[in-house]
Subunit: 153 residues, 2 copies
Amino acid sequence: MEKTIPGSTAPSGTLDLRVWVRLLDCAKIIEKRLRRNFEDQFSTTLPRFDILATLDRAPDGLRMGELSRALLVSNGNVTAIVRQLQEQGLVSSYTDPEDARSAIVSLTPNGRVQFAALAEAHHGWVREALADFPEDSQRQLLALLTQLKTSIL
Amino acid sequence: MEKTIPGSTAPSGTLDLRVWVRLLDCAKIIEKRLRRNFEDQFSTTLPRFDILATLDRAPDGLRMGELSRALLVSNGNVTAIVRQLQEQGLVSSYTDPEDARSAIVSLTPNGRVQFAALAEAHHGWVREALADFPEDSQRQLLALLTQLKTSIL
DNA sequence: GAAAGAAACTTTATGCCTGCAGGAATCGAC
DNA sequence: GTCGATTCCTGCAGGCATAAAGTTTCTTTC
């Protein structure tokens, strides 16, 4: 399986494997940094922020299923995190009047205020992480990642 | 603030945030697929595979600390996973003769055999995931990700 | 309108991951 | 030597993730 072409400069591995490993490495490095910042500076976590961010874009609230699909996580997972945010008074939920199976979750006014601070800090950390990565490269990378995302559907 | 809901076409957001969100999305999608394949077809997990893969590249074995640094995970985490692999007879460990604080972990012959099968399947899954993403784009993406990784170090 | 089926959500079991506390071994400065 | 600091690893609590099973609530079919 590992044919290494004698004259090639290939460091190791096939192209697709190397792409995947690098992709995962970059994501992990940045994610780890963000997680630590959230913990150190706000005593919260990235998953909680993700939920707040998703709700912030939905003025009328979202059902649990919409949340879990948007965040690419399982249903049961959202249940637990939303409950914590509820206990902190950042989100509220009520039964969907049109379908009693669903609960509709939305940010509380206080949650919206708290989230604004988190979002600003978050953006700063991301900007900082990518500060040494040229804007032009960012544009190319974004285009390629967008292409990749649709190709892996 | 602005992340893009996976399903939506929302263009909003600053460049750096959009790069980060797409990067994370792609990584999560592929990672989730790999995890499920490992579970379904081999009853194992991606972290265990990662450790085996790292050890496979180190004929003389590695210390726990080297493993955790290579994998970007914490020390205590490696301890637990290595113990499981040990119970399955895939890896063995012995005290470093030159430094009794360290344990040196290496693949057993059986571990090497098992890993070969896992690696082949893993490569197949990655190839399949990237099948619709053109080779030329892969090359560009790899170059950009390599540049990104060094810029965020 | 009642039973069968599907859908939305929660619960449970299991596993990874981090940070931190703690024990054992090593290293360094006397 | 020996005391103190550092290094390497393990143990543990807490949080996030999944899959699978269980509840409640529609929806469909007759």
